[in-house]
């Protein structure tokens, strides 16, 4: 491995508009060709750090930054983000925002033209499309790409300028298991190309061994983790954990959802002869890769889409918790959400009291605006708000685990286990499905539903939670 320093942060401080300092004298050195993983709790400053690295923290978010940030020995604070992007490129959480032209190839060519001029533009784009297996996507609209495809396309675009350092901010957001594997392959390719890689990710279980070093961002500073010691400690703690239990089949209530031979498609058929019955108290998890029709199935259940054939019957009231969780919230605070929801079902003061008590119990301050909650807290609060106010017969959750930390996933599963409504969730990853004890696991593929098995052992999931807790310093 080469020994030159690719990225050096020295005594770095950062804060938003005269607020509290988020980064407090952070120091980090990443050598050329090295690959490092940075983990940290929600709100620890990972995204702020990513914004500093791509040069947009100041110009877009008004972040005050002090200290030194060097790329290949050159001071980078205050550099134009376009110039900085030629040396260090950050692929952000949302891959869809990287495009400035609807058609992928055209978007690549526009950027290549700015970097290399007209002469080499085509050559560079062709090379990138081939290298990242993107040729079949070249004429597609960016907004029609799946999460995995969009991530690959955004990474390909980042590599057009051939930067020496690549930074990924939560790259697994919206990726299914296949997408995670593809991303890992891509990391190996980048490593072979001699790139320096920095990844911010909290779903690290499957990738942790790829990295040369693991750092923890905590209390505004970064320190290297002693992974061997942490793995040992996590293993010890795992053995003492009690697993979450859902009520057994005997406690199930009346049927709340019945699908009979439902078929649906857009241009091509997506779902074929789907049949499913769900009872109150029961939990069903539908596992499927991106693009298999999970969200379509949920939209058929909600009545937003009409089946080509077959029958969808829903009894009682139901709630839909979307993947873009911030779209669930309409009010200025959780308290106002509670009041509005109780009012919507003509609930009285007792309804409000019960819901507020439940929020406090889960550590959620009702006076906090929903937009100030972390992603994990938003999902948790949505389930609580629904179950304590509306008391729906059925809760539909579209990819609730996506973007959640391991600890948040574990807590959400516990919360769902205590919720008496019927629950139907979709997930594109089998990770953690082993913890859904007494849930029915179904896999959606080739348009049909069939029973599935959790591929991992429950203790593996618990181990991930314990390791995450130790890494980021979360108390039990």
């Amino acid at each position: 491995m080469r020994s030159e320093i690719a990225v050096q942060l020295e005594d770095l401080w950062a804060r938003y508009s005269s607020g509290e300092w988020i980064l407090k004298g952070l120091n980090l050195s990443v050598s050329e060709g090295e690959s490092v993983l940075i983990v940290g709790a929600t709100g620890s400053g990972k995204t702020t750090l990513a914004r500093i690295l791509n040069g947009t923290a100041g110009p877009i978010y008004g972040v005050e930054v002090k200290g030194s940030y060097k790329v290949n020995g050159v001071e980078a604070l205050g550099l134009d983000p376009f110039i900085l992007g030629l040396k260090i490129h950050v692929v952000s959480q949302n891959p869809y925002i990287h495009f400035l032209n609807f058609i992928l190839e055209q978007d690549y060519r526009d950027y290549a033209k700015k970097v290399y001029g007209d002469r080499f533009e085509k050559q560079v784009v062709e090379k990138t499309l081939t290298q990242f297996n993107l040729r079949e996507l070249r004429h597609r609209y960016f907004f029609n790409l799946s999460g995995g495809q969009a991530r690959r396309a955004a990474t390909g675009k980042a590599l057009i300028s051939d930067p020496e350092v690549l930074v990924f901010d939560e790259p697994f957001m919206w990726l299914d298991d296949k997408g995670v594997d593809e991303f890992l392959d891509m990391l190996h390719l980048l490593k072979r190309l001699g790139k320096t890689i920095i990844v911010f990710e909290h779903r690290f279980n499957r990738v942790i061994r790829f990295f040369d070093k693991v750092f923890v961002l905590r209390n505004g500073r970064i320190e290297e983790a002693d992974l061997t010691a942490l793995l040992r400690a996590a293993a010890r703690k795992t053995l003492g954990t009690t697993l979450v239990q859902q009520p057994d089949k005997g406690e199930l209530g009346e049927v709340v959802l019945k699908l009979e031979n439902v078929s649906f498609g857009y241009k091509e058929p997506v779902l074929n002869n789907i049949s499913l019955e769900l009872r109150r108290g029961e939990g069903v998890a539908i596992i499927g890769l991106n693009g298999t029709g999970k969200t379509t199935l949920l939209k058929l259940i909600t009545g937003y889409l009409k089946p080509w054939k077959g029958r969808v019957e829903v009894r009682g009231r139901f709630i839909y918790i979307p993947q873009l969780i911030h779209l669930f919230y309409t009010e200025g605070s959780l308290r106002e959400e509670v009041v509005k929801l109780c009012k919507s079902r003509s609930g009285n003061e007792a309804c409000v009291e019960e819901a507020l008590k439940a929020l406090w119990k889960e550590g959620l301050n009702p006076d906090k605006p929903p937009s100030k909650l972390s992603h994990g807290q938003m999902v948790k609060a949505a389930v609580l708000l629904a179950s304590k106010t509306v008391k729906p017969d059925l809760i539909l959750l579209d990819e609730p685990f996506s973007g959640l930390t391991y600890v948040d996933r574990f807590n959400l599963i516990k919360l769902l286990a205590e919720t008496p409504s019927a629950k139907l969730l979709t997930t594109s990853s089998r990770e953690f499905t082993s913890l859904l004890s007494n849930w029915r696991l179904l896999v959606l593929e080739n348009g049909g539903l069939k029973p599935a098995e959790a591929l991992e052992k429950p203790l593996n999931a618990v181990f991930s939670v314990e390791l995450a807790k130790l890494l980021i310093g979360v108390e039990d």
Binding site: F99, L100, Y320
Partner: protein
């Protein structure tokens, strides 16, 4: 439906077959004429709106194919039909002074304006808008416009998610509350997209040909539609 509409609002490669001046003038003139006729002209202008609709539909079908066009405009037509239905019910109940002819003309007018607006989206690319506004010294506006246009398909999808989520959450009540999450979503997306502009640079203005020979067909069509006002 929203997904199909989003696809319809994207620039089509076939647009480049015509000069930029015609691609701007034709839809804009049709929109402006439709509005002026509605305000100024008292008598019915059904032939004008119908011929405008046929003209723009033909061009849109040439750009995207008839099936895609029909799928994409379902949502718009649904709203127009809904308005039409409400008016007819009101008419039957004697609640409105509008005649059936006026109600139908109104629906036709809305469709004609909507189709011309879609044509404008399909015909003028983001980099061409940037070129036009930058030439007029409004670079800042050009960037904002580019950002809004590129994010439009994703915003429409977010709208569909919010619509579903809020409707079920409140059991069909408080429908207007949907605006709050959408506003927040738009703000977050705009900031993220601004990052993209800084990192990748704004879309470079592209100077395209202003005139092409075949534009004459478009101008002839537009003139014929305008002349129908004299009928």
């Amino acid at each position: 439906m929203i997904r199909d509409l989003a696809e319809l609002l994207v620039t089509k490669p076939r647009a480049r077959g015509f000069g930029l001046a015609a691609r701007l003038t034709i839809p804009l003139t049709l929109i402006v004429l439709s509005i002026i006729v509605a305000v100024v002209r008292k008598e019915s202008s059904t032939i004008f709106y119908a011929s405008s609709l046929v003209f723009t539909s033909g061009l849109l079908a040439y750009n995207s194919g008839l099936t895609r066009l029909l799928k994409g405009v379902q949502l718009i037509l649904l709203f127009i039909l809904l308005g039409l239905f409400i008016n007819i019910v009101a008419l039957a109940a004697g609640l409105t002074p509008l005649s059936l002819e006026k109600v139908l003309t109104g629906a036709l007018r809305l469709s004609a304006i909507a189709f011309a607006a879609i044509l404008l989206f399909q015909w003028v690319g983001i980099e061409e808008w940037v070129y036009l506004f930058s030439s007029a010294g409004a670079e800042g506006f050009a960037r904002i416009l580019a950002l809004s246009m590129i994010q439009l398909p994703l915003t429409l999808r977010a709208f569909s998610e919010a619509l579903l989520s809020v409707r079920l959450k409140y059991g069909g009540k408080y429908f207007t509350r949907i605006l709050n999450p959408l506003l927040l979503h738009a703000m977050n997306t705009a900031r993220s997209a601004s990052e993209t502009l800084l990192i990748y640079g704004p879309p470079a203005p592209v100077k395209t040909r202003m005139w092409r020979e075949r534009d004459i067909l478009l101008y002839a069509g537009l003139s014929a539609i305008a002349l129908s006002l004299l009928v």
